[in-house]
């Protein structure tokens, strides 16, 4: 075996003056994403959690609705009920986005990746773009599927609704947008922490543990602090009714995006500064 054929072909590979750019980095990230199996199982897990648990919650309310208190009936939100699974689906999306970065460190792929795209911000931005696009697309599909299934289940036994209502359309679309934002938030966490287990722990703590702990704290604390928790703020986007002491839909989502942007900025800076 010799290297014959590499030399003479040298300048035939690429046209003169060729320059690799952002679009090329995006294509590479897309290949990376679609060529590992963890992508498929984590997206499948997300879809199953969003639709499956949405159906379970809808079923639970459908069967119990007649026995709910008048207050519970008054604040019943059929949209957010059918989208309950989004809260759990964020775990699948979060793990996927974290693995996108920590997986490169764990397997050592980060070095060839950065040797190929030495401008680090370009690589990370390309990765963020690809992940946002894919997770929003899958998130929207899951959110709409969960909504339609949930309304079918609720129909006849509890109030249900339709997309013709603009607030409902916003909430259902919001389920997908929220999952995309969770992906970016988690990608930033993965970039900062670089270790899979650590990043997943941090993401789970922020998304699930802290909100749960808060419930055990005095009501006045819950009322003032609860809305500021990133995932509490963000999830306002996928409920139709404003929840007491929580931000309204777009304000809440803007707060979540602000957290995400801060974390991403920090992540980009650390990624550019560090050795690999």
């Amino acid at each position: 075996m010799t290297a014959a054929g590499t030399g003479s072909a040298a300048r035939l590979l690429l046209p003169a003056g060729a320059r690799a750019g952002f679009a090329d980095a995006v294509r590479a990230e897309w290949v990376k994403l679609r060529t590992v199996r963890s992508t498929y199982w984590s997206l499948l897990a997300t879809v199953l959690l969003v639709t499956g648990l949405g159906a379970v919650f809808s079923l639970a309310y459908a069967s119990r609705y007649h026995s709910l208190s008048p207050h519970a009936k008054a604040v019943f939100d059929p949209t957010v009920t059918s989208l309950s699974g989004v809260w759990f689906g964020q775990l699948g999306i979060g793990v996927l986005a974290i693995l996108a970065v920590t997986g490169e460190y764990a397997t050592g792929t980060i070095r060839p990746s950065l040797a190929a795209v030495p401008r680090r911000s370009r690589m990370l931005a390309a990765k963020a773009l690809v992940f946002t696009a894919v997770t929003v697309a899958v998130g929207e599909a899951a959110s709409f599927a969960a909504f339609f299934a949930g309304q079918q289940i609720l129909a006849g036994r509890a109030p249900h609704t339709a997309l013709a209502d603009l607030a409902v359309l916003r909430a259902v679309t919001g389920g997908g947008l929220y999952l995309g934002a969770v992906a970016l938030f988690s990608l930033a966490l993965g970039t900062l922490i670089r270790h899979t287990a650590g990043a997943i722990t941090a993401m789970t703590a922020i998304a699930f543990v802290v909100p749960t702990i808060l419930v055990a704290l005095p009501a006045s604390w819950q009322d003032t602090a609860g809305r500021w928790l990133p995932t509490n703020a963000g999830s306002a986007l996928w409920s139709v009714r404003d929840v007491t002491h929580m931000f309204t839909a777009w304000t809440g989502f803007a707060v979540f995006l602000a957290y995400t942007a801060t974390l991403l900025t920090w992540g980009f800076a650390a990624f550019a500064r560090r050795d690999t």
Partner: protein
């Protein structure tokens, strides 16, 4: 060509690379030699912008690595073995690298053929043997048909056939006018594959020389066989040589070349049956060189000095 100027890298209190400057020239295979922890990997990572130098700079083809318009077309890189996602197929690993540098996808098939691993193209990286994985790493390095190749320990863990293959490949690449730099901590590997040597220890340049030059610098001994060996030894010592008994009726002489020894023997009327200049092994030369180097006597390698990945 690779130009390295005043490179310094510290990891906390440990100086891994300490003011390193050298050039790696095209058209020949350059071996990058040093004991484990000498700073070879750190230096190579700094060449590629994967580790940020504390001071100094590296230019590849006249530019900083991050300024190369198509990095993979300028420099091909093999870093640690198995720098792949285990679940990704060999072909797909090459494909994403190709895409990132606008290299046509057909080139993936070409480098798979060039490295003889077409049949492994569809295998997931974790299913590859070490030899196969190393070939995949080389395939990735050749992807952009680069002018410069930087290979970190390319012979590590390969079977003799694999070692011979990489040696031939490096020679061919250099013969095509490319710059080929490969590292090793085993001088026996480097001796057979390199035309030129860069030797470092504790992050400093110890030698920038040819393989022959390294051997010569340690003083070439001459084996002398004679029926009157001990008498000849006395005369040679008198002339300033150092001698030591080798075999029966033979001595190893250093400090005089073969012609001078023959002349002295003839003048004394002593018959000489054999007069053989001996190539000291590169191994010995290397040991001597690193031993002579003051920094090297500091003691056993301290942990952590290798820097990342070494």
């Amino acid at each position: 060509m690779i130009e390295i100027r005043g490179l310094v890298k510290r990891f906390g209190p440990v100086t891994a690379v300490d003011g390193l400057s050298f050039d790696v020239m095209p058209g020949r295979v350059t071996g990058f030699l040093g004991p484990n922890g000498a700073g070879k990997t750190t230096t190579m990572l700094m060449m590629l912008g994967l580790v940020r130098p504390g001071a100094g700079e590296v230019r590849i083809g006249g530019r900083r690595y991050r300024d190369l318009p198509v990095p993979l077309a300028e420099a091909g890189v093999l870093l640690e073995a198995r720098a792949f996602h285990g679940g990704r197929r060999a072909r797909d690993h090459l494909l994403f690298l190709a895409k990132s540098n606008r290299i046509p996808a057909r080139r993936v098939g070409e480098v798979l053929a060039l490295t003889g691993i077409e049949q492994a193209a569809g295998k997931r990286a974790k299913a590859l043997s070490l030899g196969m994985a190393q070939r995949l790493g080389i395939a990735a390095a050749l992807l952009g048909d680069p002018a410069v190749l930087v290979l970190d320990e390319p012979l590590n863990g390969l079977d003799p056939e694999g070692i011979a293959w990489i040696r031939t490949l490096m020679r061919d690449l250099a013969a095509q006018g490319r710059t080929v730099l490969f590292s090793s901590h085993l001088i026996s590997e480097v001796a057979l594959a390199a035309d030129h040597l860069i030797v470092i220890g504790k992050g400093r340049l110890i030698a920038d020389t040819t393989a022959a030059g390294l051997a010569a610098s340690s003083g070439q001994p001459v084996l002398v066989r004679s029926p009157r060996a001990s008498e000849l030894a006395d005369r040679l010592r008198h002339a300033g040589a150092a001698t030591e008994p080798a075999e029966e009726r033979a001595i190893r002489v250093t400090g005089l070349d073969a012609a001078t020894i023959a002349g002295l023997a003839a003048a004394a009327g002593i018959a000489v049956h054999e007069l053989t200049p001996q190539q000291p092994s590169l191994e010995e030369a290397f040991m001597k060189l690193t031993r002579d180097h003051a920094e090297f006597r500091a003691g056993p390698a301290s942990p952590g000095q290798a820097g990342p990945g070494e």
